[in-house]
Subunit: 1001 residues, 2 copies
């Protein structure tokens, strides 16, 4: 009678104190007990809810998720023995918002007893290949914050649950460790790797997330799940079953008086399966995930069958069976494994690329939907700036300013989902993500405007409304195209001054540009825009004919407003000439030479005098289009990259459009075909060469195509070795046809050697002296297949599905239906190995957190404007060490995880050391800095160090300890600290997360 | 707080008295209240559960029904406002058996408050075309009895709910009225009929179930549901939706902060739909069925959406909307309609055949799976005998004797389902029904053996074990084939003596047959069996070469045992000769002449000297095989009959196999092809000609074929008028290309004129003097398409599906996979119209309740056997009037609906008057008889008249009164009685149902 009585009390609301009080026994304490001496099977009832894939996140919510949560809650209430694991906060928050207080209290009761356990707890289960580390951190923080506000301690997750992403990055492991998590489980890894791990009982390990930098504090217990995340084969107990035509999965039929009684058969089969699981792990615990995509719409059905399974399998114990089934959670399973106190093998590389069978390398999605990948990255950048500006501009939520940012944050977080930024969703769902981010962007622009109002106004004067020109990338901006006079305000989110090259679409034929003082004229160039195919822009709007280009010096964490004036008597200079015969572009730092056909033929670093015969060209792979019935018939698709020939087809330059030389930039213009062109740029004051490629519509004739760019330095001697970043932070060495932990048999010599490139890829010369680094503006797949090569995939158009569920060919229609055109940039650095890091590390920051321009039409003369409006501002009071990056500056939406003194407001501040150990002789060292007087207008009161996810004080985190087979040291239980009083000390690659309570002045 | 508090009490079990006590407020009292002055929409949450169709009954139970009931119960408990309607006891009993006492109490609580309402309450929702009235009554009684035992008064159903059957018989209406029901709803009727009813607001009516016989006591309020039984279009709120690929049905999305908010659209659409409904009915009440096939697997999902619909539609009332939604049940809707006190139109014909669109007549299923139809009918016959024998033999349940009968009863009841006897299920499901009935038969045979033990034993001697030879129809019987000497015991379930022609498969070449006295020899013939195709019998068994045929005189409601002896010195007579040149067969009553090709050419009634040039031949229609996308492409299939040509192809006689003359029977043997043959028989002492046809395997070459037999009397002059029975009882007049209640446009001149024939079809000569009656041994489709024709469909083999869900062509493989062979008989009577009824009425009984032979091998000499065993027995003590048929004689399984005096056992006894009014000058009159001394060994104590379904005393039934537009008399509230003291008076076609309490002597 215990259960109904308890339920009764719950219903009558008598137990709220008890449920929320000190007696909550969530976490490891609340686990169902194992039976010693038996094989304990941890049945983890869970559902995997993609926030968008075949239909949109809201459609999934309405169609399935609402019912999953509704019915799971009821079932959990009916039986204290049951456990359920829920993961995705993008969905849970939708549901929560629709519940009344009584239901919320009931759910809290279940959470407080560990019956409903949140695992992972991120907004989404992010992709690990195409995501930037800042977005990974942000999306987790968003979920964690919701859980903290609504569920307190019992809502704090401690297990990573990356069960579906298609490969696993080491940085994800490192960040997961830094979230204070006790472990990570995932489902997908190379089938050869899995087979070896099953044979050697190394399905569970300690993954070293940052072996060279953060050391054992980034170690993470990691388990490969036995059957992906699905039910054991043949035990798919879900209502889905009922509606499948040819489904031979069955429920448990345990009424002997009816036909098809199958208890003996089912129990036998389950025991065999669990013993096989056990043979792969070698402990007395196995985990059986009982759930799959959007399962538990009718939770009763699932759990009724699991109940029967438990009852009938455990009934065998009477006749000597040594197998025991129990309801469990990922954390309870992990705790049981942990308590065995075993020694674990370690792993220090990553799990890319993923191949689930021969010929089936999931390296297509590293590049799929390059437009979406860029947009997601770009809006994450804007989000960081918006949070900073809202903080510095003292925006509160009285006009919804923080909610607006939350809206953008949630849409960007959603964009990190492993069927979003990956490009593996249906086309309409991709549009949905873009639309959500676009709406989030618009909302956050309002907040930025509010911040600017506060920062720009002098006395009672108001600032001037800022317009952001979202389509500036396709030369569309009504303000700058229509107004003769306007202002450009550029915000710099970095904590160092930067020279920002503004590119403003205009239609006039003469402009002067004045600095923030309203009278100093700056050099500017008026470039004719290279004609792009019509499909690239919204219908009915005419793109600007010209681009006004000028350099602006932006203060750290601040802005400058420049004036553009057409109404001037001064004619500055004629438009730069298009010099057709010239074959060289040159700045202060770098020079590029082209051959007579217009191809790049040499790159020279003018500072170090390193000069190499670099070539660059576009190519395409013909995509294999098979019926996918067998590995050898695997198609290239949204997930899979599988070229028909391993040698790509060269795309020839059809027209050399000459060189344009401006004051700040020189550029060479190449047309490769009617669907591919490129502008190669050298900036006067920048060390890199920019390759701005425009590709599309990729012709569908002749089958699917995958477009790459290939840089080559003949005789470079890198011997198949190259390096790629992991989510934009640490760098991993890659080697052709090789995997560090098993004898790999790679049957796809191109696709099987592709790796995700989030920030950069480099090759070092055979003598280890020189390094060619290519930085990307979005995630791309890349490799170095031949000596001296750096190859990156730019765009893909495929005509058949690759049969992993999306059910649609990756054939983006673009605005006019003829095929999507995509534009992007590579930033190429050539330097000595010693100098390389100090070039590419800051540049990577500049690309991700580039200046954010906005435009206004004040109707004021510059001098008048300067009197009424602040035209220059820096929020940073003290210079930070060169290695230190301000990763986060934002206000907590409600409160912080630690109490704030009266009169203060809690802010979330993260700093990071952006260099790896030994990467740079001068910079790869610990740095210490003071945080007391950093930000303008925010009076420092106190600071507490938090765990990376910002949901607990660092000192409250005690991680489980794991023994490593090759080390006498177990993993530490305490997290490393960085804050000492008001000083922060950061080691290479370290991130410090702080709750800083400021008085807002 | 009322609801949770109530729930709490329920959970704690405090309320059991209240729930089961006098305060139960189920029934009309428990209905949710309407809002006066508004259009009240009665939302009837229900699920339609076919006990077998695409998968078997147990498979449906496991896959769906268990979860439907589990989750519905939970939802009902959570909200006292909700209502749910459940129908099929075949499923509910399965579920109930698996529940513990606590759950049973919870369900009783819901039933007692009217929240869970049983409607119909039969074992199944029986088909109305191919069912025999006795099976309809039995299958209802089986469900009613379960409900009475478990739910008492609140479990008594009062609404017919034939929502899915494919056409509706008048007898079903009559029986439904006699169950004491207040009304009937159904879903399917001819689309032209429906259209007219919608326009004339006659969707609801008073259906006169027996206008010429039982009068207004068989009147039944009948409503056509507005949208079949489905949800209003666009409101299909079921989990099924989620798993459909191209499903545009949506749930209600009422969170304005999410995309796809559709409340306004959904509410508008629903209101429009309900107003359209209202326009068809013309009252302020409409019924909206909220459910479909196997819906509510996840009841929460359905009801959550219905809740939203109610909330949002009713919210419009604030702004003046006059539409009000409420949870309701069929009975609550009916009560609201009733209380309007309107005058209703009447209808006195039936709803056959059903066409849901042009060219789509559902008249194929009248014949589909003729083997199954026969088996179902045959086992129903055995069931009646078994119940009688168990009663007379005083079998109790100590050895499970009554449970065995229950098993057969349940399998036969299941066989009446509208996807069972109809033949519209998948092949494997058809096998499942057969297997269940076969197992039921085997079980009931044990009970019959137990009864025989009691009845046969003299003193302490035991009777001899009876073997039933289930494959006797294909000349297989191990006892009679292997034993030289054996006994044949024949039970006669009729209350009059009958001459039974025994046909015993044997392999010997000489036998003597002795009567029950053990010494009187009777005439017998040893016929060579006409060779049949090999597919007709189980593999590996050799059929008997010969058939021993003899007449036995069986006592009323009793048996006689005859002795067959091969070991005899007497050689009785040579086997009858096969006379090839002879062209006439003749008995005492009838003569048939054949022409030189072997075709029938004349039929003569030797008593009345009526002689007609009757011909008979087999034909086939070529089946139309279309893609079903449009009405004109409709295929013939399991449901639909649609010939390619309206003129069938004649199947010619290929071999005349001559005439065989025996002492009891003369037969002519015709071979029509290698897949069709016929034996025409005349019995010495019988008034009919038997046409025993054997058809199959129907050749698949050239497409599907539908085999018919056609009897024709040139110049008969019936002018397109013919008559068919309704479920084996009353007779309806049919007329070619005509429907009594609307101007029919019949675009299929053959299929649209087919009607179900359950017992007989007749045509009367143009001068109204003579009648040709053809009786069938199973349900068949039939018509009279040309003057003097009687056409009946025998067998069908179709190669494409007709697209109404079964998804399989009606292509029965037979035992050897080459195609099913089917054998059956027609019994043809030719007589004056005055004499017709007194011939065919008793003959119909004899066909349905034929003698039940069983075989024993006593190893005793006949004289010894006679000394030890009773060889003749009649259970009937007094002769009953000629018109009276003992419809039912069985023991109540537990108790009767009225209390029984101590020391007595309650029995269910039904008598019926088998003649219609005016049908026979002498016999169509009321008859009175005494019931005090009827049955041997059962001492009459008292009797109470029950309602037909045997679930209440007749006096406890008070039906709702309905006004008829064309009559000053409203329908009666009281049921007509037949019992007066110990005398029963039956009017034509009246059935009396009695609980008789006997002392068992």
């Amino acid at each position: 009678m215990a259960a109904p009585a308890l339920k009764t009390l719950l219903l009558l609301g008598f137990c709220q104190f008890w449920l929320h009080g000190a007696d909550a026994i969530c976490g490891y304490e609340s686990c169902n007990k194992e039976k010693p001496g038996m094989l304990n099977v941890h049945l983890v009832a869970h559902t995997h809810n993609d926030p968008g894939w075949l239909v949109t996140v809201d459609q999934y919510y309405y169609r399935q998720v609402q019912f999953i949560l509704d019915t799971v809650i009821k079932e959990l209430e009916d039986d204290p023995n049951k456990r359920f694991t829920y993961v995705e906060m993008a969905f849970f928050t939708r549901w929560w918002k629709q519940q009344d207080k009584a239901m919320k209290d009931r759910v809290r009761g279940l959470v407080n007893q560990g019956r409903l356990e949140f695992t992972l707890g991120g907004w989404v289960m992010n992709d690990e290949a195409a995501t930037h580390y800042s977005a990974i951190i942000d999306q987790h923080k968003l979920g964690f914050e919701f859980l903290r506000h609504n569920f307190g301690l019992c809502g704090r997750t401690k297990i990573g649950w990356q069960i579906d992403p298609f490969g696993h990055s080491r940085e994800q492991a490192s960040l997961t460790a830094q979230f204070g998590f006790d472990g990570l489980f995932f489902g997908r890894l190379d089938s050869q790797d899995k087979e070896k791990r099953q044979k050697t009982q190394t399905m569970e390990m300690v993954w070293q997330g940052s072996p060279q930098n953060l050391g054992s504090s980034s170690d993470l217990f990691t388990g490969v799940l036995p059957n992906g995340y699905d039910y054991p084969s043949g035990f798919h107990f879900d209502v889905w079953n009922i509606y499948q035509q040819n489904n031979n999965q069955r429920f448990i039929h345990d009424d002997p008086s009816l036909q098809d009684y199958n208890v003996d058969e089912m129990v036998d089969k389950f025991i065999v399966a669990m013993k096989e699981y056990q043979s792969w792990y070698g402990t007395n615990h196995v985990i059986a995930t009982m759930g799959s995509d959007f399962n538990y719409v009718d939770a009763h059905l699932n759990l009724k069958n699991i109940d029967k399974l438990i009852r009938h399998v455990n009934a065998r114990q009477k006749s000597g069976s040594k197998i025991n089934l129990l309801y469990s959670t990922p954390s309870c399973y992990l705790k049981s494994v942990h308590d065995d106190n075993k020694n674990w093998t370690t792993k220090s590389d990553d799990f890319f690329p993923y191949a689930n069978r021969p010929h089936t390398y999931w390296s297509g999605y590293f590049t799929s939907r390059p437009g979406q990948k860029r947009y997601t990255r770009q809006l994450n950048g804007f989000l960081q700036s918006a949070k900073q500006l809202a903080t510095l501009g003292h925006v509160d939520n009285s006009k919804g300013g923080l909610d607006n940012i939350q809206k953008l944050a949630a849409s960007v977080a959603l964009g990190q989902h492993h069927d979003a930024v990956t490009g593996t969703e249906k086309q309409v769902v991709a549009y949905d993500y873009i639309q959500r981010m676009s709406k989030g962007w618009a909302a956050a622009q309002e907040t930025v405007n509010e911040a600017y109002s506060n920062l720009m106004s002098k006395g009672k004067e108001r600032s001037v409304h800022q317009v952001f020109c979202d389509y500036r990338n396709v030369s569309l901006c009504s303000v700058t195209q229509l107004a003769k006079n306007f202002e450009v305000t550029m915000f710099n989110p970095l904590t160092r001054a930067v020279t920002y090259t503004a590119r403003v679409p205009v239609d006039g034929d003469q402009y002067n540009v004045l600095k923030e003082d309203g009278h100093t004229m700056v050099h500017s160039d008026l470039f004719t825009v290279m004609a792009a195919p019509s499909g690239i822009r919204p219908k009915g709007r005419k793109p600007a004919a010209r681009e006004l280009v000028f350099n602006a010096l932006l203060p750290p964490l601040g802005y400058a407003t420049y004036f553009v004036r057409a109404e001037t008597l001064l004619r500055w200079r004629p438009n730069p000439r298009n010099e057709r015969d010239e074959r060289t572009i040159r700045g202060k730092y770098v020079e590029v030479d082209f051959d007579s056909n217009g191809y790049v033929r040499r790159l020279t670093n003018l500072v170090t005098n390193v000069s190499v015969p670099l070539t660059q060209n576009l190519f395409y792979y013909k995509a294999y289009a098979g019926n996918n019935t067998r590995p050898e018939f695997q198609s290239s698709g949204a997930y899979i990259f599988r070229p028909r020939d391993n040698t790509p087809v060269k795309i020839k330059i059809t027209k050399w459009e000459g060189i344009v030389k401006g004051s700040a930039v020189q550029e060479a213009r190449q047309r490769f075909s009617d669907w591919a062109s490129q502008v190669v740029r050298v900036y006067k004051d920048k060390p890199y060469v920019e390759f701005e490629w425009t590709v599309g519509p990729i012709p569908a004739e002749g089958g699917g195509k995958e477009i790459i760019t290939r840089y080559n330095i003949p005789g470079w001697g890198n011997k198949g070795v190259f390096h790629t970043d992991s989510n934009g932070r640490e760098i991993l060495q890659r080697q052709l046809n090789y995997r560090p932990t098993w004898q790999a048999k790679i049957d796809e010599p191109v696709a099987g050697n592709y790796f995700p490139v989030d920030s950069h890829i480099n090759i070092k010369s055979g003598d280890s002296k020189y390094q060619l680094t290519v930085l990307v503006d979005r995630a791309e797949g890349g490799s170095s297949l031949n000596d001296g090569d750096v190859e990156l995939m730019l765009h893909r158009r495929l005509l058949v599905d690759d049969y992993f569920g999306v059910g649609q060919a990756l054939n983006e229609p673009g605005l006019d239906g003829k095929g999507l055109i995509v534009r992007g940039s590579h930033y190429v650095l050539l330097d000595t190995v010693e100098n390389a890091a100090r070039q590419f590390r800051p540049l990577a920051q500049e690309i991700f957190l580039s200046g954010q321009p906005s435009f206004s039409e004040s109707q004021l003369a510059p001098q008048e404007y300067v009197q009424k409006v602040n035209t220059k501002y820096s929020g940073l009071l003290e210079r930070l060490p060169e290695q230190v990056h301000l990763l986060t500056l934002e206000q907590f939406l409600v409160d912080g995880p630690v109490a704030s003194p009266g009169g203060t407001t809690p802010y979330l501040v993260r700093f990071e050391h952006i260099y790896e150990a030994k990467e740079d002789a001068r910079l790869s060292v610990p740095v210490t800095f003071d945080i007391e007087h950093l930000f303008e207008g925010l009076f420092f009161v106190d600071a507490t160090e938090l765990v990376l996810g910002a949901n607990a004080a660092l000192t409250d985190i005690h991680r489980l300890q794991w023994n490593k087979r090759d080390s006498s040291h177990a993993t530490p239980t305490q997290m490393p600290t960085a804050l000492n009083g008001r000083k922060v000390t950061l080691k290479p690659m370290q991130i410090v997360t702080l709750q800083v309570n400021f008085e807002v002045l």
